[in-house]
Subunit: 192 residues, 2 copies
């Protein structure tokens, strides 16, 4: 396997530190230190911390998209796929500890007032995510597994927002309880 380029190392380090500490609490030197790179090398590869943060967000969203494969596994009924998907996200959050939370949620809270570019990318990520969930909700409604009195898009967006809120509280209480509660209430009340 080829050695990762210095740019890739800086990007991976940037994603890690930005996710753990947040944007404004992270200095360029925190990123180069984490990457084991000289501070001066940063600007050879990224125009600014904001430019790196945009790339880190893209990388994070790409990694998360891979988890959506289960949503297309038509061997399972749609509601079972949705449950498996959110159980997977819950387990990933538990494995990661709770201190970092969701990068999309963190950037929404911290950077919406500060960076129009990041705010827009976060908005696109939330929309695409909601739409991927809406497709499966619509299938479940057609199959009669979820009551069809509400649009799939509205239900999906609500569920994603509720997930982000549960991730926020899990970060605060450093415990899985908000995520377990999300699963429980979502699958007895919203997707039911």
């Amino acid at each position: 396997m080829p050695r990762p380029s210095l740019r890739d190392q800086l990007l991976a380090a940037g994603l890690e530190v930005l996710h753990q500490k947040g944007y404004n609490a992270t200095s360029v030197q925190d990123i180069t230190d984490t990457a084991g790179a000289p501070k001066g090398s940063f600007y050879n590869h990224f125009e600014s911390k904001e430019a790196l943060a945009l790339e880190a967000l893209r990388l994070y969203v790409e990694k998360r998209k891979a988890r959506r494969e289960v949503l297309r596994d038509t061997k399972l009924p749609p509601l079972r796929r949705l449950r498996k998907y959110f159980e997977g996200l819950t387990q990933a959050a538990i494995d990661a500890g709770f201190s970092a939370g969701c990068l999309v949620g963190n950037f929404s809270a911290e950077l919406s007032p500060q960076s129009t570019l990041i705010r827009k990318r976060v908005g696109e990520a939330l929309l695409a995510w909601s739409e991927a969930i809406a497709v499966v909700i619509e299938e479940a409604q057609r199959a009669g597994a979820i009551s069809a009195d509400e649009s799939p898009k509205a239900l999906a967006a609500f569920v994603i927002d509720a997930w982000e809120g549960a991730m926020l509280r899990a970060k605060v209480v450093k415990d899985r309880a908000p995520l377990d509660r999300f699963l429980d209430v979502t699958f007895t009340r919203i997707l039911a």
Copy 2:
């Protein structure tokens, strides 16, 4: 009316700037500039930016508690009180524009990894808030207006987390749609 003390002016300015810009993007000078006070005066009144942020959080939570009065208005049936309460929060968010979001959510996202004190205060605020909602949900369940298959505390905490997630998305899309969707899905699916 007596003139507000310099401490009160700094605190009000601090709450405003921290709410709009976030913690790490705000300097002590941003706060003294907003208060129209000399920079040097800050440390006569607050030990640190963190100390001011804790006071600002307390002030924000106190102001929000005043909105809970409607929850105790027993002239209205419990479900109507809950709806009126969240409609009031929605209107307040609309009136404030969407860029600031909820200070409790913002601090949850940005400061949980950085300040144990703020993380704990935010956790206490979320818990007290959920418990105030749970009391009314329990009443509504006893009155048969909300199905009783889930504990009032779990439903209340889920709803508060869903609200925080909706406020995050409203901040990103700068639009009331996520808040309207919160009201709609909450009162047709969760509190129903």
